[in-house]
Amino acid sequence: MIASLAWRNVWRNKTRSFAVILALTMGLFGALLIASMSNGMVDKWIKNAIENEISEVQIHQAQYLIMEELGLTMGEKELASVLKKNTNVRSYTSRIRTEAMAMTANNSTQVSLIGIDPEEEKKVTEVHQFMIDGQYLETKSKFKPVIISERLAEKLKVRLKSKIIFTLADKTGNMAYENFKVNGIFDTNSTMFDDRNVFVRKSDLQKILKLEDGQVHEVALRVTSPEILESTVNVLQHTFPDFKIRDWKVINPTLSMSGSMMTLFNYILVGIVLIALIFGIINTMLMVILERTKEIGMLRSLGMSKRKIAKMITLETIFLCLVGGVMGNLLALGAIEYFGSAGMHFESFKEGMEQFGMSAHIYPKLDYSFYAIITLMVVFTAVLSSIFPIIRAFKLNPALAIRD
């Protein structure tokens, strides 16, 4: 009864109610869209970093991480026998890496030279999906193949089939100069990654560095699902006490931190919008009380208790807010679902965003639980906003209210 009265009261002054509803709708729609965009952006950033760069888990000699000495290797076979049997491991690959100076007739720059097994690597990282020219590391040529990023190719002024000389120190500390031929060019959407990393075949690099057969610096692996990540790391760490097993959160704390910071930031954003809305809601409800002075006085003298009056006002505020809240949520849901698959393309910001490893193609994304929490926050806002008007309503003198 009171609920239906409250609901009908919402629609008595349509223009004014619509002002509040529209404010809620647009405010929440905007806030949710922005939240979903930053969410999608960070999600993709993390996903790219895991897929292209760091994988979910990396294994190194514990000492290698500190000293980065070329001799601090691990036996590939020993690792493989364990990893193959672990059902949580979706795929894995082993690598050899070193620092080198890439030189051409035109320029020179320092890079991370990574020796990979192309077939295994494809199962772990996605760099092969970003080839814009040439092949990955498959070649019939007698030259040692290398793939570099487009940015690096421009810097070194090389094209497909150009030669690059790498200057590097081998395991014993002797300098080596090695010729490689550009076999492919890639372009991921992380400037930092592209500027640093150069891929060659593991077998080639192994010979140059004078490493023994089957010795590697790094093993990267992907797990079957994020839930078992932690337990997998623990199991592996137990099996290989001499090695350091790290998941992506440990490898790049910035990534995981950004994820949780983004969530916090999104709640703050919605919070600010809701606080901004509170003022308008309070004002509207105060006006409502003022206008209905007579009516409320009448209801009081008919014997409606203060509690019921309070309930009526609170319900009216909640209904008013929920209409806007639900509309805002639905609009946002629609837009996010649409853009979530179609993507939003910010070509003009490409350069700037890729500098931070972000893609200029944003796929907005929001957990469904976020909508539910936001709706609860809207109800809470409504209850909070109704306090003032209720106090005002209680101050009215029922007798006076009716007389005039």
Partner: protein, 409 residues
């Protein structure tokens, strides 16, 4: 006009509670917006300032081909008359001659690619204050045949002051450049890139190492006044052989930072936009109520001969006043906070400080104190209030005064 303002002021306070709440909403929005924008713009300024003072300078003189293709082949011969011109330039704070080149640095088994920077120790110090950041050993002097390296590089190479490193790179015209140098000092710079990948040595030593006698890669000019950039560019273009050399402004040298700023700024503006939109609806509600409850009064005024347009200006004045006072209060509240944090930048919490270092930013939150963006908040709020008055004003233009006076509406 004075009468109108007094009248608007009185009308504002006919419903005190409502006016206070509306003012509070505007004030809240302006405080939030000022702080948010201040932090954003301050961070941008700091990023650019850092980039300008510690790397590119406001203007850099270099070979025309050097910027797009940074090899020693595109280095420049220091024009004999240039030093005099530089000394005579009153706009110049100081100028930094540099020689940049990539090289491999190794010590024992450890090798890493680095950027070697040949510098004039005194002048360079004015640019990046490295001498104050020395944590071991001492700073360079002109004649030293020794290097300064960063903390992280020294840890990686496992070497300290007095140990020797080997530098190996490509010299001018493609000759191999290799030499051994002792470490004179180790510095700790807040930017990660400096600590990991930079090796400093005196200019003359670097020129000798890279077979670059009399040549430089670039000369960075740091100006006293940011506004003089384009004048300075034109001035140096006229003093140099422009078939070979160019004077490049900081904008083209920091394109990526600018573009990063642009994208971040875009999202920042949208967020503030949403906030102001919500406040706008609140203002709309208030103005609507303000006009609706005075319908009768307005009708009487029209009946006794006041033009509707005059009523409109009165109502606009009232909404601008409410928005203006709210915005002013917002600025008055936020300004001391902005000023305080401008003087005492908030350090980034240690957990996220690494993220800043990774992006070569000092881990502090710098807030901007430029009056421009604060005034802009004020202007935006006034515009919002005008937009929010459109529908209520339209109402005034349309209502039937006879019906209202007779109480039929």
């Amino acid at each position: 006009m004075k009468r109108k303002i007094i009248l608007a002021w009185r009308n504002l306070w006919r419903n005190k509670k409502r006016t206070y709440i509306t003012l509070a909403s505007v004030t809240f929005a302006v405080v939030i917006a000022t702080m948010m924008r201040g932090l954003q713009l301050g961070t941008y300024d700091k990023m650019l300032d850092d980039a300008i003072t510690s790397t590119t300078g406001h203007v850099a003189l270099m070979d025309k081909l050097y910027w797009d293709d940074k090899t020693l082949l595109n280095s420049m011969e220091f024009p004999p008359n240039l030093e005099e011109v530089l000394r005579a330039d009153p706009n110049l704070d100081f100028w930094v001659p540099q020689l940049f080149s990539g090289a491999l640095v190794s010590s024992g088994q450890h090798t890493r690619g680095v950027l070697v920077q040949g510098v004039d120790p005194q002048v360079q110090d004015r640019q990046i204050n490295l001498s104050e950041k020395i944590i071991e050993g001492s700073y360079l002097s002109d004649e030293d045949e020794a290097v300064l390296i960063g903390k992280e590089l020294s840890l990686f190479l496992r070497i300290g002051v007095g140990d020797t490193i080997v530098l190996l790179g490509q010299g001018y015209m493609g000759v191999t450049a290799a030499a051994k140098y002792p470490i004179k000092g180790i510095y700790d710079h807040p930017m990660a890139e400096f600590n990991k990948r930079l090796v400093f040595l005196p200019l003359a030593t670097a020129q000798y190492l890279f077979f670059m006698e009399g040549r430089l890669t670039n000369v960075n000019l740091v100006l006293k006044d940011n506004e003089e950039v384009s004048n300075t560019q034109t001035y140096y273009q006229s003093k140099m052989d422009t078939t070979l050399l160019e004077a490049r402004g900081w904008r083209t040298m920091n394109k990526e930072i600018l573009s990063g700023i642009e994208s971040d700024n875009f999202f920042g503006k949208i967020m503030i936009g949403i906030l102001y939109m919500v406040i706008g609806f609140g203002l709309f509600g208030t103005i609507l109520m303000m006009t609706m409850e005075r319908k009768k009064e307005f009708s009487i005024m029209i009946a006794i001969g006041m033009r509707r347009t005059k009523l409109l200006t009165q109502v606009i004045l009232e909404s601008i006043m409410i928005a203006g006072i709210g915005a002013l209060a917002g600025l008055i509240i936020s300004f001391p906070a902005v000023y305080f944090y401008y003087l005492n930048p908030i350090p980034v919490p240690e957990e996220s400080a690494d993220m800043y270092r990774q992006m070569n930013m000092e881990p502090i939150l710098q807030i901007s104190i430029k009056p421009g963006y604060m005034v802009l908040q004020f202007a935006v709020v006034l515009c919002v209030s005008i937009v929010a008055s459109v529908i209520p004003l339209n109402n005034i233009m349309k209502f039937n005064i006879v019906d209202i006076i007779r109480g039929r509406q």
